[in-house]
């Protein structure tokens, strides 16, 4: 019985934490939020230099060839330090899709460039102000040329490529598109966490390359979401822990009525509830990390369980962190709002809490039938 990370993995996590702390990642997030940019390029380049974009890429393509477990511990630290970089889009979604579904030629073309930072990717699904489904996608591929409009695509401004979920005849397919093409227009869309930009992508008969096959693209997309859910959950876990730590430290220092506010039970119980939510999420994340790294058939259930728990934990911890800080927590000056914003971004980027609860119960029904 060993539901824990190895010493090597813990060491990697510790190194990641030291790096992001030294780089002042949280302050960098604030600077990005206050600027016209949507990414800290300098921090991203350092992350690329550390090899994190290639953690999961097999050695034959120049990557580190490590498992999802290594990616999980790095994700937790990126979440803890609010790193304003396109890691989740480019690594959890784009890179994982290429590793999982691309043919050999595409892997040889794309993967080495992800490692060097020449390629940054993202995933584009949504087209309307509602959840995307296999039935409301209108973007269409005809003869390897794609047309349509995607919205709310995270990090598309800095990305060089996208995987576009589109209609191919009667079914759905995943398609690689190069952003430098003239037939691709990318425009910034204002969002509620500008430390990670969101963009629309207009495609006007742009050349595209099929990933996987055309018969079951929606299934490929869903299966990619299951994997990504585990990695997003670890990032959410890191953010939850940081929010709790902030609240605890403030509750010890801030005095009211002649005593630290942390000595009042109303505050204690709130913080204890944050710890409870976080601990449930953490344990479910560990199990999901195992399911992901060992290719378990339990992954859809495990991933949804981790995702629901972590989304709830981060939303709860980040909002109650603001509450614990009182009026200060409502100011731009304090960091609380950056975690609040990020908790929402990570929560909706791969689908809302309600959607994942539904996925969880559906997966229970499914595994019950088998």
């Amino acid at each position: 019985m060993n539901l824990d990370f190895s010493n090597d993995q813990k060491f990697l996590q510790e190194e990641a934490r030291k790096f992001l702390e030294k780089e002042g990642s949280i302050n960098r997030n604030r600077k990005v939020l206050d600027s016209d940019h949507n990414t800290d390029i300098e921090l991203w380049n350092k992350i690329v230099d550390l090899g994190w974009t290639g953690i999961r890429i097999p050695e034959e393509y120049g990557g580190l060839g490590l498992s999802h477990l290594e990616l999980c511990v790095v994700a937790e630290e990126l979440g803890r330090f609010l790193a304003p970089v396109p890691f989740s889009s480019s690594v959890y979604l784009f890179t994982e899709a290429i590793i999982k579904y691309a043919n050999e030629d595409m892997k040889k073309e794309i993967l080495p460039k992800i490692i060097t930072g020449q390629i940054i990717g993202t995933l584009a699904v949504t087209e309307e102000l509602c959840a995307p489904t296999a039935f409301n996608i209108k973007t269409e591929v005809i003869n390897n040329h794609i047309s349509g409009k995607k919205i709310a695509v995270p990090d598309a401004g800095i990305a060089t490529h996208s995987i576009i979920v589109a209609k191919s005849g009667d079914s759905i397919s995943l398609n690689l598109v190069d952003h430098s093409l003239n037939q691709v227009t990318i425009s910034h869309q204002e969002n509620i966490d500008e430390s990670r930009g969101h963009f629309s992508i207009v495609l006007n008969e742009a050349q595209c390359e099929l990933i996987g096959d055309t018969s079951n693209g929606w299934h490929l997309f869903e299966s990619l979401m299951d994997q990504a859910a585990v990695l997003f959950s670890f990032e959410q876990l890191g953010g939850s822990q940081a929010s709790l730590d902030m609240a605890v430290s403030y509750a010890k220092e801030r005095y009211a009525f002649g005593r630290p506010i942390g000595s009042f039970q109303a505050i204690k119980h709130k913080l204890a509830d944050m710890y409870i939510a976080l601990t449930l999420a953490k344990s479910n994340c560990y199990y999901a990390a195992w399911a992901l790294s060992s290719d378990s058939s339990d992954l859809p259930t495990a991933a949804a369980t981790a995702r629901v728990s972590s989304t709830k934990a981060y939303q709860f911890c980040s909002k109650e962190n603001i509450q614990t800080h009182g009026g200060n927590g409502f100011t731009w000056e304090y960091d609380c709002h950056m975690f609040y914003r990020r908790s929402k971004l990570l929560s909706v980027n791969i689908g809302s809490l309600g959607k994942w609860k539904e996925k969880l119960v559906s997966s229970l029904e499914q595994s019950n039938k088998n």
Binding site: M1, N2, L3, D4, F5, S6, L69, L244, V248, A251, K252, R259, P260, G262, S263, F264, Q265, I267, K268, H269, L271, A272, D273, Y275, I276, T279, L280, A281, K282, S283, N284, Y286, Y287, A289, W290, S293, S294, A304, T305, V308, S309, K312, G354, W356, K357, E358, L360, V361, L364, E365, N368
Partner: protein, 406 residues
């Protein structure tokens, strides 16, 4: 990461499993029954305990001289995992073995340990814990039962309450106030006592479940030899804390209706012409409970992983009771509500019995062994390191502490 036993652990699990298969029947699913006060159940439980004792399973981590097999923490967990899959009595011995045993082990003389520990493990003598009082619940250090020294003996007067099993117990551990002029936490002393001593009167309390698992216990000039004192005079609180730490481990997970029961039920139960599982609100609740139930299960696996590696587990297990007792109450409530206007009716249906029993029993679990509120204080203070609440009972003699009307 893996979920495999080491070869030694696998071998140990096989040994446990083999013995259990030879001596008990596999369980078909648990239900929460209030069988604590039932005398037939007591006899069955004693018989099962005796069998376990003879084979070394009763207190397997104890030294061989007291009937154990000196099992490691991980082996103890493996045993209870396997035992929980079988339909065997539980609940009668937990307090004695889980709380009184460790205190005797730590504070009793060698001679007392040899005399009392083996029959405790065997279930021949059952032990209870006499801590809470009418005016000392969450604030158990506010207890007022008095002990006055008289030569080599102590004379005890007062009242204890919420004493599980006192009506069938042979011995008890007891904390009382020996000096009300001292500070609250300094004026207490700890004993063990023969429950058949003259002057002890036990009155069962009827609970909201209708059952009576606990009691009021009155002490009228009860004589306790000084040799039955555990710890020094004035060390009562220190000894009691040792016991309470063990209690939180002993109480732990709430048995009764869980998410699997709710899920299975929802697939079959009608909801205005459709299966309840198709109801969006029901699906959301089941998702939440699944996350809580598995969060606890996986938390336990993390604790086990640490033990398995010979490390000290983190504080993560401190969330167990708060989460499981509330989940139990909510799932019981869900089951009853799913019957709509018929929800009030008692039934022979095992699921309905389970939901109603869980709903009625859960309020007790949210209080026993530390209320939700006390447990949140403990998480806040011991895990998160927040400062203690400001208190009105520090640094003054116990007798001068404000106590309201009582």
């Amino acid at each position: 990461m893996d979920f495999n036993d080491t070869p030694e652990q696998a071998k140990f699990r096989k040994t446990c499993r083999k013995w259990l298969e030879d001596n008990a029947e596999l369980s078909s699913g648990g239900s929460r029954e209030d069988s604590f006060g039932n005398i037939d159940y007591l006899e069955v439980a004693k018989e099962w305990q005796r069998k376990k004792y003879q084979a070394g399973w009763a207190m397997l981590h104890w030294p061989k001289s007291y009937g154990g097999i000196e099992a490691s923490p991980i082996e103890r967990i493996i045993w209870s995992e396997e035992e929980s899959k079988f339909n065997v009595p539980k609940g009668i011995f937990e307090i004695g073995l889980g709380m009184c045993g460790p205190v005797m082990m730590q504070y009793a003389t060698e001679e007392q340990k040899s005399r009392f520990l083996p029959p405790m493990a065997e279930g021949k003598e059952i032990w209870c814990q006499l801590f809470s009082e009418p005016s000392a619940g969450s604030d158990v250090a506010g207890l007022r039962s008095k002990a006055v020294k008289n030569g080599d003996e102590w004379i005890v007067n007062g009242q204890k309450v919420w004493t599980s099993g006192a009506h069938f117990c042979d011995y008890g551990i007891l904390v009382v106030r020996h000096d009300a002029n001292l500070d609250k936490h300094k004026g207490m002393t700890f004993f063990f006592v023969d429950m058949k001593s003259p002057g002890i009167e036990v009155k069962p309390i009827k609970q909201i479940t209708g059952g009576s698992s606990f009691n009021e216990v009155y002490f009228n000039d009860v004589v306790i030899p000084d040799t039955q004192r555990l710890g020094d005079i004035g060390d009562g609180w220190k000894v009691a804390i040792t016991t309470l730490m063990n209690e939180r481990l002993a109480v732990g997970d709430a048995s009764g209706a869980d998410v699997e029961d709710a899920f299975r039920w929802a697939k079959n139960q009608d909801d205005s012409g459709e299966p309840l599982i198709n109801n969006k609100a029901a699906r959301g609740l089941i998702a939440d409970w699944y996350c809580e139930a598995n969060g606890l299960k996986n938390t336990k696996l993390r604790t086990m992983s640490a033990l398995s590696k010979g490390e000290t587990p983190g504080p993560e297990a401190s969330i167990t009771k708060v989460v499981s007792a509330n989940k139990l109450q909510n799932i019981g409530n869900f089951g009853i509500d799913s019957l709509d206007m018929a929800g009030m009716l008692k039934s022979e249906d095992p699921d309905i019995k389970n939901f109603q029993g869980s709903w009625l029993g859960a309020p007790g679990l949210r209080i026993a062994g530390g209320t939700d509120e006390i447990l949140r204080n403990i998480i806040a203070e011991r895990v998160l390191g927040l400062p203690q609440d400001q208190r009105a009972d520090k640094g003054i003699a116990f007798k001068d502490i404000p106590s309201g009307n009582s």
